[in-house]
């Protein structure tokens, strides 16, 4: 049953299995295991970024396609939900229409970019995606009447998904609409992740891997490389847009900085590389580590700085204001020691 759910793609390492199980249990039980709003928000962000990074892994890790437009698709999904909620009013129909419209817009745009630029060399495709993504980000900022410009948009989601909806207590935890909202995000992420796992382990996924390794050979066997690359781009874009929709449902706010910025694109790249490209499970580990580090490293360093206040130099080095520097060092070290990503390294050690 589990093997079938995972499409036969098991973690293939005891340590990796254990880590994935811990992450799954923590995410599944987050509202009951951790107290407060911040851990729940972190868990929701982890879920959304797992989906976003997994969709990028389909493109980069499996298809070998470098794109800088992934946050644009993420943003299309988020703005889809925001605009639908503003114009149709608070309701599940608005969420559904917004999510579907965002995903469709992402597919159409990905199809256009793919058909026009996937025939050319990889570097040109990367440049074109960068140009289109930058243009869309500028347009979103400029058309403030529709998109709210730099301020973004705030809107209402169904009341049943908000903190105002109080539903009593369960296992000592007050159940509110926010928790329902979290489980909407968690369940959608789980289903879409398993779907992506199915796609990469299907004959389509195998052809993508073949194209990544040697595109001429794949073409010479009889596969239309452009068609496969375009299909992968569209699938990846649609999933990224759905991740954006979930983000919009969770935050009840969208803005260029939270959905379209190039910083998020760099974060996605780092998460894929740290977790391990072409593994899908790498997205789970990469996104979890990255979001945890982004959220808690500053606090952790504050505590460490206080604990070492009697020592020379160390408290200064561990000053919470220096958290970005340490985050950078951690990433350099992880890429240095895990060139194939954490998942790749764990699978290699099992083979050895």
């Amino acid at each position: 049953m589990i093997v079938k759910l995972l499409s036969g793609d098991q973690p293939r390492s005891a340590i990796l299995t254990a880590i994935l199980l811990v992450i799954l249990i923590c995410l599944a039980g987050a509202p009951f295991i951790f107290d407060g709003v911040r851990p729940l928000d972190t868990a929701a962000r982890i879920c959304i970024f797992i989906l976003l990074v997994a969709s990028y892994d389909l493109l980069l890790g499996y298809g070998g396609i470098v794109s800088f437009a992934h946050t644009m698709f993420f943003g299309l999904g988020a703005y889809g939900v925001a605009l639908a909620s503003i114009h149709m009013g608070r309701g599940f129909d608005a969420l559904l229409v917004g999510s579907i419209s965002g995903a469709l817009a992402a597919v159409v745009l990905a199809l256009l970019i793919g058909l026009f630029s996937l025939r050319v060399r990889a570097i040109f495709f990367a440049m074109i995606t960068l140009a289109v993504a930058s243009a869309v980000a500028v347009l979103v900022s400029q058309f403030s009447a529709i998109t709210g410009g730099e301020d973004g948009l705030t809107y209402k989601i169904p009341r049943v998904l908000t903190s105002a909806n109080r539903m009593g207590e369960f296992m000592g935890t007050k159940i509110s609409g926010k928790i329902l909202n979290y489980y909407l995000v968690f369940t959608a992420t789980l289903i879409l992740f398993l779907l992506l796992l199915r796609i990469v382990n299907s004959p389509f996924g195998r052809v993508l891997q073949a194209i990544r390794e040697n595109d001429f050979r794949a073409e010479a066997i009889g596969y239309r490389v452009v068609w496969y690359r375009t299909a992968a781009t569209c699938l990846s874009a649609a999933t990224a847009a759905l991740a954006g929709s979930l983000f919009a449902i969770w935050l009840r706010y969208v803005g260029p900085d939270t959905t379209l910025s190039f910083e998020i694109m760099l974060d996605i790249l780092l998460m894929v590389v740290i977790g391990g490209m072409g593994t899908m499970y790498g997205a789970v580990i990469g996104a979890t580590l990255f979001i945890l580090a982004q959220t808690y490293l500053q606090n952790l360093m504050g505590s460490a700085s206080e604990a070492t206040s009697a020592l020379p130099l160390i408290p200064d080095l561990l000053d919470p204001d220096r958290w970005l520097m340490w985050l950078g060092i951690l990433f350099i070290l992880s890429v240095y020691f895990f060139p194939t990503g954490i998942v790749g390294r764990l699978r290699e050690s099992r083979r050895a």
Binding site: E213, A220, G222
Partner: protein, 240 residues
């Protein structure tokens, strides 16, 4: 010769500023093994790559079953029934032997009977069926490369130096598999430096020099005539 499966008429191919093929004329008869011979660097590999479409012919005709395929996309040539085994093997290293074989069938699933035949021809592939192709030895990779091209029934095979650098036992396995492929009615255009294999398999031969085919005839005629070998290729097949 009547109705060849493949005909090249005055094919010219440039790679960057180099004029590699300078008017290749070649016929590949149906159901036969045609050896493409010649010294290193005379354009044999470029000829195969031009037929498959990796290099685009600057001018000339490539008639496959009477249809000019010179401007056809590579995948369309493959789907029309041309199988290509390049010198560098081109296996998918990160995929298993099984996945490589399944990928060899672009128009449907791997036929169980064909799989059985291929595994009997290349038993090593069965042993490493679930292993990553990148972990195979050089000979096994070459077997996989040829078996993958044969995974689907194709009418014409373009094979570039399949025995290069292989141990004698693997060479004879390879030669036997190609003989069986021919017995099934496939046509083969084979570039081969191993003259004993060329002699054993070849029905006809074409010798290239300086980007052109300079001699065509029966393989038996070439293998029996040392003077002709010396004149065409600058060496005797007996010496190899």
């Amino acid at each position: 010769m009547s109705d060849p499966i493949l005909s090249l008429n005055a094919v010219y191919t440039d790679i960057a500023q180099y004029h590699i093929l300078q008017g290749v004329d070649l016929n590949v008869p149906r159901g036969q093994v045609t050896m493409l011979l010649g010294r290193n660097g005379v354009g044999k590999t470029t000829t195969l790559k031009t037929i498959m479409g990796q290099w685009t012919a600057k001018s000339g005709e490539i008639l496959y079953d009477g249809q000019d395929i010179a401007r056809m996309p590579v995948s369309a040539r493959a789907r029309a029934g041309i199988g290509f085994v390049p010198e560098d093997m081109g296996i998918f290293r990160d995929l298993t032997v099984e996945e490589n074989m399944v990928l060899g069938c672009s128009s449907g699933p791997l036929d169980p009977k064909r799989k059985d035949w291929l595994l009997s021809a290349f038993p090593a592939l069965g042993t490493f069926w679930h292993s990553e192709a990148g972990n195979l030895s050089g000979g096994q990779k070459q077997m996989l490369s040829i078996a993958r091209a044969m995974a689907e029934d194709r009418r014409l095979y373009l094979i570039d130096e399949p025995t290069k650098g292989l141990a004698p036992a693997i060479v004879s396995t390879m030669a036997e598999a190609l003989r069986e492929l021919k017995a099934q009615g496939a046509s083969i255009l084979l570039v081969e430096q191993n003259f004993s294999v060329a002699r054993a398999l070849g029905d006809s031969a074409a010798v290239m020099d300086d980007g052109k085919v300079i001699w065509t005839g029966a393989m038996a005629e070439l293998s029996e005539n040392k003077d002709l070998q010396e004149r065409l290729m600058g060496l005797s097949m007996e010496a190899h």
